[in-house]
């Protein structure tokens, strides 16, 4: 992710917020609108960020992961069910992460051990997740009449959340904070630790890594599991932090937007985060436009993240360079 592209993204986000402020109805002060749009952006961006980072770990080690959607969906279900049964949010959170990892295990098993094509493996997980969660929801959940365990409480940052205008931005729930922390940690891990180096080696040139003694298989399994766990956290966001109920298809394509964000962000943590914020801002703009009564057909704004990704992939705004061995099953000779 070049600095130029990063700045471009940040500039676009600011631009979108500015547009929202300009479009506002005159009775709301501009700084309130700006803060509100920023807060909305962060809310939309949280699951996308987590999903993108999840994909990042997998892909950096050379395993294509289009199953982020399925992992998040399954985790959302697992998290809610566990929390409702035990009436403990902590257990629900754990269950979400574990469910994600379970899906990741399947993905790794199929694509690393069986060397099934990784896209097929990802597709399988998506279909499986949709089917299982839908089935269990109708057959078991709706008949069980469980009460939700509630939502994760807000964790306002002590001083900053009292600020007059910017305050609401710093009043977020745990998983939203974690998503930011995960971005920072991932950046450090990926680029400044030996683990990260090994991961990237396995993703760029597994043959060379193998000859140096790095176990390609172990690294890939590990990274897929880590990534899937993060995706699990993203899934838990939907049912433990956003709303206290599970809906079928609650992820609603966010996993694919996360994939787009990862690519758009050039397979780097900060890039992915910036992309997620961009997509979140576009969504926020669309909502605000409706609030102000401006008739932008919502579908055009809805297309925005997807069009951007295609443009990026086509190299119009810089190239999108994936890890070199991304998608290639590794065979030890």
């Amino acid at each position: 992710m070049t600095r130029g592209r990063f700045l471009f993204i940040i500039a676009t986000i600011i631009g979108l917020i500015a547009v929202a402020v300009l479009l506002r109805t005159k009775d709301v002060p501009p700084e309130i609108v700006a803060a509100s749009v920023l807060a909305t952006t962060l809310r939309f961006a949280t699951p996308i960020t987590l999903g993108a980072i999840a994909g990042l770990y997998c892909e950096r080690s050379g395993v294509v992961n289009i199953a982020i959607e399925g992992m998040m969906l399954a985790a959302a279900f697992g998290a809610w069910s566990a929390a409702a049964v035990t009436q403990s949010l902590a257990i629900g959170l754990l269950a979400g992460i574990l469910t994600g990892m379970l899906m990741g295990l399947l993905h790794a098993w199929l694509s690393v051990t069986f060397r099934v094509d990784q896209i097929v493996s990802g597709t399988v997980i998506n279909i499986l997740a949709i089917g299982l969660t839908g089935f269990l929801d109708s057959q078991v959940l709706s008949k069980a009449h469980l009460n939700s365990a509630g939502l994760l409480p807000q964790l306002p940052i002590p001083v900053l959340s009292e600020l007059p205008v910017l305050g609401p931005i710093f009043r977020q729930q745990p998983i939203a904070w974690v998503s930011v922390i995960v971005v920072v940690i991932s950046h450090y891990v990926l680029f400044y630790t030996r683990w990260g180096l090994r991961t990237r080696a396995v993703g760029e040139n597994p043959r060379a890594a193998d000859t140096v003694g790095i176990s390609v298989r172990k690294m890939r399994y590990a990274n897929v599991l880590i990534g899937a766990g993060i995706a699990g956290l993203g899934g838990a966001y939907f049912t433990l932090e956003a709303v206290p109920s599970f809906e079928i298809l609650i992820t609603n394509g966010r996993g694919f937007i996360a994939l787009a964000a990862m690519i758009f962000g050039g397979w780097t943590p900060f890039g992915a985060w910036a992309a997620a914020l961009l997509f979140g801002a576009a969504n926020a703009l669309q909502i605000n436009a409706q609030q102000f009564g401006i008739p932008i057909p919502s579908q055009f704004v809805g297309m925005f993240p997807y069009l951007l990704t295609i443009i990026i992939l086509a190299g119009v705004i810089g190239r999108a360079v994936p890890p070199a061995a991304d998608g290639v099953p590794y065979e030890t000779e």
């Binding site: 509100s36 669309q286 102000f292 919502s298």
Partner: protein, 397 residues
């Protein structure tokens, strides 16, 4: 030799189910009794005195070529059916049951009527919009006498089925009939009136002068009318009030009414910008708006529910839910089914009752004169002296 035999046996095993299929005929009756989910909704009581008889339809239904004659609903009679067992079925839209609103209340009405008649009703939840016809056919081929279809998406299939099966009675919830088909009764409501009342209340209790509504999609007339009625009612109290309406149009129908997370984020966006009354009118998406208000309870935000008394169905929002704009679906459905049993069923449009749900915990925050005003306005809406001037559907593009 052994391997090929083994393989042949396996292939044969696969063919067996096909044989079972061709065997056709009656399948063994499922041992598990069909246990439809019981709706958690109690019979809602309209806060304002609702007339016990159903309302007469205005003779000029807007944009309809032939004004259907609506019938005044008869009083619900005790179960007197001696005409043999009546089979009652219901087909939902893809939002399925468990929406704590629309579909659930229709099901509740069906169950109510069925219980009074001493029968077990059955429900098919549609999962694929291509299946409406098929699901209806399922009931038709099994000889059901009354089929209730829920939601205006099923209108076309219901009309076709009604025309093709004149001996079966159909009840279409939220399906406004333009022609009178003798065996098809459309149960419709004046959502704009309920919305109007909600808007009056909202404008009166709002301190910031900004109110908002989170809605499913303006492509569904009932939803759009809720929103526009809300706006009209609010403006009648405070002409310069700011009414923000946001529709979840950017997703397909399968998500429009089942996206509480979007509803919550959008409502929070409104609240952060000064809105202090939020009307959630979009199935589960709207429920998210109620949760957002609950989240910001310290700011003194109110929430208004929709379709049923959501105080009972979304308990997380109890502290901020001031009322709900209700359409009393269970009663309407139950009464219509009763007419089938009595033989007094009439096709065409039947209007159900609308009103506001009780104020519950926030009752003390509604001043007495406001309560009186709401009662008066409801009377005027019902007898036609006050009009909301909201058309039946969003004017075409």
């Amino acid at each position: 030799m052994r391997k090929s035999l083994y393989a042949m046996l396996l292939l044969f095993a696969l063919v067996l189910p096909l044989l079972a299929a061709c065997g056709g005929g009656t399948a063994a009756q499922p041992t598990a009794a069909v246990a439809p989910p019981t709706a958690a909704v109690e019979a809602p009581t309209a806060m304002v005195e609702a007339p016990t008889a159903m309302v007469e339809a205005p003779t000029a239904a807007p944009e309809a070529t032939a004004a259907p004659e609506a019938t005044a609903m008869p009083e619900a009679t005790a179960a007197t059916s001696g005409t043999g067992t009546i089979k009652i079925g219901m087909v939902t839209d893809i939002a399925k049951l468990g929406d704590k609103g629309f579909n659930d209340s229709a099901w509740e009405g069906v169950q109510q009527a069925a219980k009074a008649l001493g029968v077990e009703p059955k429900v098919i939840e549609t999962t694929d919009p291509n299946d409406y016809q098929k699901n209806l056919d399922q009931f038709i081929s099994e000889g059901y006498n009354v089929i209730v279809t829920v939601g205006f998406n099923l209108q076309e299939a219901t009309v076709a089925a009604a025309k093709a099966n004149p001996d079966i009675k159909f009840i279409g919830v939220d399906q406004a009939q333009t022609d009178v088909i003798p065996n098809l009764a459309g149960l419709i409501f004046n959502e704009d009136q309920a919305g109007y009342l909600a808007g009056v209340l909202a404008a009166s209790v709002s301190k910031s002068g900004k109110i908002g509504a989170i809605l499913g999609t303006d492509a569904v007339p009932a939803v759009w009318r809720f929103g526009e009625g809300y706006r009209a009612g609010a403006i009648s109290i405070k002409p310069d009030i700011s009414v923000q309406t946001v529709y979840h149009n950017d997703v397909g129908f399968d998500k429009t009414f089942s996206d509480p997370e979007w509803g919550k984020t959008t409502a929070l966006s409104m609240i952060d910008q000064g809105v202090d009354v939020v009307f959630g009118a979009g199935g589960r998406t709207g429920n998210g708006a109620l949760l957002a208000a609950a989240d910001r309870k310290d700011k003194g935000v109110y929430a208004i529910g929709v379709d049923t008394d959501q105080y009972l169905t979304v308990p997380e929002a109890k502290a901020v839910l001031i009322t709900s704009a209700v359409k009393i679906i269970p009663d309407g459905v139950a009464k219509l089914i009763q007419t089938v049993a009595d033989g007094t069923f009439k096709g065409g449009n039947n209007f159900g009752t609308v009103g506001l749900a009780p104020f519950h915990d926030l009752d003390s925050q509604v001043p007495a004169d406001l309560k009186t005003k709401l009662t008066d306005i409801q009377k005027q809406l019902l007898d036609g002296t006050l009009k909301t001037n909201v058309p039946a559907a969003k004017p075409g593009s």
